[in-house]
């Protein structure tokens, strides 16, 4: 065999190996989904959604967990989004010049990589103990807000960065002030990108478990929360609770709750993908 043939064989061999690797990843995903669907799909019905928790697996539901999750999400959105977007705007539009902004940038890159459980410790100590908010919904959403803040800032920056310099210059050239340019040109143009980031942040918040355990959310809460100071449980915590129970019925419950959680996660990510695609198309300047 000459060299060129050997090279071609290697090339082809790698190709098949790589296809196998790619499909292995997808296969695991498929098996995971199949495993969960087969364990939990039959358990899902209206009762499962509307029932309160119970010691009997067959009559337990996720009502309180769902409501808890919605409470947490809404508060997190209210707290984290304005701050995150504002910070993103500052860093991308104002802060380039000074060294401090550079420092903030490193800092955010770091925060984005801090393990979520560390945010849990921060939340436990800062909100739960020092501010005395206990293991309430408010503590939970403040903690998750800190957690998703770097995510929102980074995606806001990416979205703003994607707005071409040329249309900014056009606005400045017409005599617009900085804020006018940002408000009336940059933000509308990057709206899709920012929104995508926000939805991914929500999806992240929905899936978090560890920081909430650390702030003390692992309790039996058999009622729907009605105010931010209530104790709460969320879907992931409920799943964790059920996963650790040995009886088969609770494994089924956990799988069923996971299906609901995944539906939510996939929906969020799907919306983000669609938004991103549509937005990419619309604003190809």
């Amino acid at each position: 065999m000459n060299n060129s043939q050997v090279n071609r064989i290697k090339d082809t061999a790698f190709k098949f190996f790589a296809i196998a690797c790619t499909f292995f990843g997808l296969l695991v995903l498929a098996v995971l989904l199949y495993d969960i669907l087969s364990k939990g799909l039959t358990r899902i019905d209206l009762d499962f959604i509307t029932n309160l928790p119970s010691r009997r697996a067959a009559s337990a539901g996720i009502y309180t967990a769902l409501l808890g999750m919605i409470w947490i999400l809404v508060l997190t959105v209210i707290i984290a989004f304005p701050i995150g977007i504002a910070a993103g705007i500052y860093l991308e539009e104002y802060g380039k010049r000074n060294r401090f902004a550079n420092f903030i940038e490193i800092n955010i890159a770091n925060l984005a990589g801090v393990p979520s459980i560390i945010y849990g410790i921060l939340g436990l100590e800062l909100f739960g103990r020092i501010l005395g908010l206990g293991n309430s919904i408010l503590t939970g959403s403040l903690t998750l807000s800190l957690l998703v803040l770097p995510l929102i800032i980074v995606s806001t920056r990416e979205a703003i960065k994607a707005v071409p310099k040329s249309i900014r210059e056009a606005a400045y050239g017409l005599g617009a002030t900085k804020w006018q340019t940002i408000y009336s040109i940059v933000l509308p143009s990057s709206f899709g990108g920012i929104l995508t980031g926000l939805i991914l942040a929500i999806s992240r918040a929905v899936g978090e478990t560890a920081p909430l355990i650390v702030i003390g959310a692992l309790v039996y809460v058999p009622f729907a929360p009605t105010n931010p100071m209530d104790e709460f449980t969320v879907l992931t915590i409920q799943i964790f609770n059920w996963v650790t129970r040995p009886q088969a019925g609770f494994v089924t419950n956990a799988a069923a709750a996971i299906i609901i959680l995944l539906l939510f996660t996939f929906m969020m990510n799907g919306i983000a993908v669609i938004l991103r695609n549509r937005y990419n198309k619309k604003t190809r300047f």
Partner: protein, 250 residues
């Protein structure tokens, strides 16, 4: 009095000097062309006139730039207000991702104009001046991005004129356009000359020859030669100019 004047302008991007001691004056209601090879500083110099370089980090400028005799870098000038008097058109058409109408009305809106009739009137007048009115008058609510490249560029010119500047700076306004659109823009420049002072950067020597009254040749950040367009193209004083316009490089 000269409309625009530069006195010993030096400009640095960080360490790197992009403009070297440039002085030149531009008369009102003329078209001046800046030519020179890529990277010689034409755009940089053009952008000194509306302080657009302010937007870039690490830029340092020395020397004076005067508009109507007023030093725009020294006095406590309001940059935003100043830019309204100096229109700018860029190489790539850069309409806002808004409707055609809103593009043209933008300059007024940021001034705080809300009166619908004033806006309508200005939009129409500007589009007419930019020779675009007939093509878009029925589609004012359509997105500006749906226009062709040439139309977009004329829209940008209209948008600029809506704020009634006295100077228009154009940075290779036709280089991304097809021959037909280019011809239209060149025609437009010729017409606008009566009302505005126009400075145009171009790579296309024939374009410079066709539209401008005076031409400045830049090379490596220096102003090599500045003279009437006829002189530059038929009888340049410097060898570099000669080499450039005969296509020895660039």
């Amino acid at each position: 009095m000269q409309k625009l004047e530069a006195r010993n302008v030096n400009l640095f991007y960080g360490e790197k000097q992009a403009l070297k001691d440039i002085s030149l004056g531009i008369d009102p209601n003329t078209v001046t062309a800046f030519i020179g090879p890529s990277g010689c500083g034409k755009s940089t110099f053009l952008r000194c006139f509306n302080r657009m370089n302010d937007l870039i980090d690490n830029v340092r400028i020395t020397g004076d730039i005067l508009i109507d005799g007023r030093n725009i870098y020294k006095s406590k000038i309001n940059v935003d207000e100043h830019r309204k008097k100096i229109g700018m058109v860029f190489q790539k058409p850069n309409p806002f991702p808004k409707t055609i109408y809103e593009n043209v009305a933008f300059g007024l809106r940021i001034k705080g104009v809300k009166d619908k009739s004033v806006l309508d009137e200005t939009v129409e007048r500007s589009l007419r001046q930019a020779a675009l009115w007939d093509e878009v008058k029925d589609d004012l609510k359509k997105s500006a991005l749906s226009l062709s490249g040439g139309q977009q560029q004329r829209l940008c010119i209209a948008r600029t004129m809506a704020v009634e500047p006295s100077v228009i700076l154009m940075d290779e306004p036709a280089s991304a356009l097809d021959p037909l659109s280019t011809a239209k823009i060149e025609e437009l420049i010729y017409e606008l000359k009566s009302k505005y002072t126009i400075v145009i950067v171009t790579h296309n020597m024939q374009q410079a020859a066709r539209v401008s009254d005076k031409t400045a040749f830049f090379y490596l950040g220096e102003l090599i030669e500045y003279n009437t367009t006829t002189t530059i193209f038929t009888n340049p004083k410097k060898e570099q100019t000669h080499n450039y316009i005969t296509g020895r490089f660039g």
